[in-house]
Subunit: 413 residues, 4 copies
């Protein structure tokens, strides 16, 4: 029966939400597209699994989860009398599915290592335009919402704001797969409290503690997981490997790599190239975690001792030793470690930069300059969470915390 | 086989931790004692189940859970080289089991309504002394630790401090049974980070975010559950019922009640009485949720219209309407509602106090005057969490938040 | 705003499903009715909490949960093209809410102890009729569905069959609150597989393993929880208490009890009485766990040694010793224990029946004579699960397992 | 402090059990060895993630989890008076860590595709011997237990039997990551029921329902996950890719691959080779999921249309259509589909074997010929679960279920 077929939804298993149903045929087409299927091969959290072994989940799974939450949000808003047409619902679903499609291998870990002056957001944009062409313009509304060009602003806020379904999903999902239970948030409770006033997404006042909890949980996940010092050590190790490989490539040295990866190792494509040569995007679409890791494994036996050492350290999980503190590390300390390292590895002082380096990371729990989180009171007042919270006041929330860390090989200090 | 019997542990099922094993015979004897079994009939969260229907768990279950966490904490501390003798382990287990044994019907909800100048802590103390006599002094060490008279202070801190196993269990358990998932804390992670330095319980620095999360989760549970306005409305309703019943009792009116409950309705026992007449404690030990509720149900048909109305409201869950705000309610408003109520219910203006009343509740996330939570850094420094946290600073943490609320019958305003 | 008010749903917190929304005003009225609110005071699993301390959940919570699953089932069936009108949806929701409203104190534990020839199903029927009158006939369709008088048979099957939402909820809920994780079933997966063919509820073939799992999980819950030997010991203790109290009442002995409970202790109401005297149902509606337990506590001091002993055993959790086996216990054994007990308690041999007794329990995993569970194959074939399952064949599934158990006071054998 | 250092345990995060502690230094050394770290790059469930997107967990995580359960089992057995020396405890931990170390890329999916007459068990054995040499014989006891050569047979049964910690972990873990909640088993409850009688691992009789549940859950996981028809389709696709690549390699065609993979593509190593040339094992130790997948991706552009088509189908998740039934597929049907496919893809009828093929899968819930699961009754009797279960009798449990399935390209029939 045709009519039944149309009704039949596709079901995806998800340990986080149980089942994710897809009823819209166009949305399902996006999911089936090779560009989107590629996200199955890009881990959501880069090399975090070297610290939290369960964190192997992919961008694909996250995008599906965010779409699930979008569906919940649409249902809640409609039940409160907000009008969201079927076309708009389809468009926000498409927009959230594609919001991070521009991510390259290992997500954030290798951002700026493979392509230079192009953020993953820009590449997402390029992908969307390409798909829009393929689908005969059917993605235009999704793109408009994504770029905040659509007149109903709250739809964009669902896709991208400080309380969008993207954040709601990744906190819950990352918490689930890492096992860091403190990151668990009640996405269901938060979404049930959503409403729209004057085209602004708002949270009903009785949800204020859930919002505070969400902000604190996000902050906890940042320091406990995303910026965990050993995770940073692992990801910087991969960055250094890429850097060395690129250096050798530029020197004209032979270097094993998958053809796709070679393309990006031996060329330096920028924004302009991507826009003018559409086939570069196609090549980028073939690149994922497998290319990088399979190549790095081969480099364990490279004649370049720096590259080989770095790669063996990655493969055998001999990560850097990391120190972390709230002020910069003293030059003298760094230099002394560099000298030890140079001697120990028989490399030049200059090259110790691959093994000894100081960096900093920053995080603020809430950004008062970004689209804020609004609390709706019973009397109709709307107040920024930073004002509304009785304890987590503005000065606390907006403070940027900076931490400095120093990596070096174990035993070099 | 005797030896096997000795080894065999008793196992309690617990949906929160899975299984709770009791291997110590003396500890098991305490659990089997009628004083402790009585806790099976006292709900941990009073009338909270009228708002969160799952919150029917008892003091018994909480005490068992806290004992489970105590066992985990002992194991962790011993594995870090801290010395805790078997005798001390038995004593802290006994102390945590008995820490709240003095609670009366509906826990906090009726504190000061049944017995006057005696806190539940004082009654706990009386119970412990009585048990100590029964057990031939075997509880002395537990009592010393409970009262912070034992030279190893950290043992007392495990039983009672701002990060004791009591709090760890009740947050997790209350969160589980209410379904307020934001209250979930990682008791396992926090306990793994425990250590002792200079006889002080400390938390290793890498656990700092879990501690912040714990403080915020506790605060959330306060406002979302313990001080939820409808929970307050329900509990004050019960308080008003008790007050009216006592008033009628003092007037010499007939009043159905279980004999045990009658004893406390028609007498006004104070601390002195409890100390001089041991049989009062025995009577108190027979009093629980069942006596109060069964009697209140009978009072639905009492000739006193005030008592009958209040009781019917409880039984049929017609709770007060509650308004909540951050400043006091205006006298005029209250008076006007009182007048409406007097007219509507045909009672004197004076008696409207049973139906219309303003109260306040307070909460602070962290008490800087109490035993503080110490963070241990790798260099050996120990810092109060209020100083150690980079964002939740002292002024924020220690601030007391006050909320004012006004209860009145639905439709009286 | 009126329109918004209408849209606004009432939300109930539930640790099992998260939130349960009620959008239908009439359904909400049923929930608010004192007859339904009374279910808050009747534990779903009687005295099971004496073995599984978390099992304090109530009939109220179960009925709400079953209604939640009904909503899910309706949504799934509608999405597959089945027609369920809003009126029918309201009616099945009402029917499932009220399906067990006739349960008395401690649910099954005391069935037949308080009222004699009336099953809880019959009392449920009486309650529904009464409510139907009160609501001006608005419950008629619900009653018709409940009694399987409505032409769409599958609606009745959702309310009552071997795979109804009642069973789905109680297995999941009882598993949750006892902590017996093996009882967990995927209600979501089973409901997603539901469909209707020829007015029969069917399960799509790919759900067959979930159904097998459901049948096995139910069987496990029977032996591990519902018919757990210590649970049986506790519940029979309460039965014996009721029996002795009734005996004493009939002897004209004085007996403390709440007035409502007295009514049923000192009278022997049967079906006829319930039908002719409507006020009896009103009295029954005031009876719950609190009346029984509060009275039993008082009887601990009764002059009748049998009653007092039984009640103290209950209150202090000195449960019978239980032996369980798959064949009947030998008369000689029972008699010898009776004689010991008579001597030990100084009671007549006849009266030892209160302390020493043999009973049997039965359970079959699947009843082939009842409404069966149908599996729908892709080719349109519909097959009974007992035939469809490749391993759990009919002979296995339908076999009734009988176990015999013997209770007696500890130390009497 | 040295002593403290010794005590300090390494902690691994695990979303399934919370934390996994490793206190034994030798066991930690095994975990850190490159042979074991390699398991981080081999997915536990091959290509199952193409159906259950969360199922990306690795052999590393499973081995760690099994070791965690081994620790629980040792603790329980010791608490029941069983003697397990520290040396034996270390050895069973090592044995369980290494029990599956011989798995190649994608675990079972590619068994026999990369190496021919060597099961993963044999390769595990080779790895253990190699490691034993490296560790100076310290693994001998672990190896003896693994091979059931040690006099305490129950230690081997913990490592390998029908109720070993391997099965307990993989059922729980696979259930967790796939989200198939019906597979959840209570590992904690089962382990608490373990004991040893006459050197046989037994389960106390009251655990019988948990064991039945375990057997049924395992069966459910087989049909719902491990032998799910789409999972089979995905894994056979990979098998066909390997077969074609090997064929082309043998033809002398050029074929991109990582050097390690090339070694196994262009050579046909057998058992004899592995034993005589130790360096082959070293090469095998460098092979993992990344080599296979990265190479397959490159082959999407290969000039051989068969290889290219198969690889594109994998990468873009265009899986075979699968039919499944309980009897063999008719030759005529298969031939007709082959002809359609040959025409459609312009390949020879012979080559359609890469796209059209019939296979069968088998499973039995319980193997009566293998080491059985023993139930220990209170009277000391020990009975095989197949006899002990009152419903899941031997004939049911031991029956082998066979299913036949037919794969072909979508639209070829």
């Amino acid at each position: 029966m045709e009519s039944k077929q149309l009704n039949k939804s596709k079901i995806f298993n998800d340990p986080v939400y149980g089942f994710i149903s897809v009823q819209d045929d166009f949305v399902f087409k996006i999911i089936e597209h090779p560009f989107f299927q590629r996200l199955r091969r890009i881990k959501q959290l880069g090399l975090t699994h070297l610290v939290y072994p369960g964190a192997l989940h992919t961008r694909f799974h996250h995008a599906m989860g965010a779409m699930f939450l979008m569906g919940e949000a649409i249902e809640v808003l409609r039940s409160k009398g907000q009008i969201i047409t079927n076309e708009e619902a389809q468009a926000v679903n498409a927009a959230i599915l594609l919001h991070d499609i521009g991510h390259g291998p290992f997500s954030h870990a290798l951002e700026n290592c493979i392509v230079y002056d192009l953020s993953h957001e820009s590449i997402s944009s390029l992908f969307m335009e390409r798909l829009n062409k393929e689908f005969g313009g059917k993605l235009q509304l999704a793109i408009d919402i994504f770029r905040d060009k659509y007149h109903k602003k709250f739809l964009h806020q669902l896709v991208s704001s400080q309380l969008d379904v993207d954040r709601l999903d990744y906190l819950k999902r990352d918490s689930f797969f890492t096992g860091v239970s403190e990151g668990v948030i009640s996405t269901e409770r938060i979404i049930k409290m959503m409403d729209v006033v004057d085209d602004q997404l708002v949270i009903e006042a009785k949800g204020i503690y859930s919002i505070e909890k969400f902000i604190i949980a996000r902050r906890l996940m940042y320091w406990q997981v995303y910026l965990h010092k050993t995770v940073l050590a692992a990801e910087f190790l991969l960055v250094k490997i890429l850097k060395r490989a690129k250096f050798l490539a530029e020197q004209g040295q032979e270097l094993f790599a998958t053809p796709t990866f070679k393309e990006f190792l031996f060329n330096r494509y920028n924004k302009d190239d991507f826009e003018k040569q559409p086939q570069i995007l196609d090549k980028f679409a073939m690149l994922d975690d497998f290319d990088i890791y399979a190549s790095a494994k081969v480099w364990c036996d490279h004649t370049d001792i720096i590259l080989a050492t770095l790669c063996r350290n990655l493969v055998n999980r001999h990560l850097f030793h990391v120190e972390i503190q709230d002020h910069v590390f003293h030059e003298n300390l760094i230099n002394s470690i560099r000298q030890n390292t140079a001697q120990k590895l028989s490399i030049s002082l200059n090259d110790t930069d691959y093994f000894v380096f100081a960096e900093k990371v920053e995080n603020s729990a809430y950004n008062t300059n970004s689209v804020n989180i609004n609390i709706l009171y019973k009397n109709g007042d709307i107040v920024d969470i930073a004002q509304a919270s009785d304890q987590l006041n503005i000065s606390v929330l907006s403070k940027t915390v900076t931490k400095y860390f120093l990596c070096y090989p174990k035993g070099s200090h």
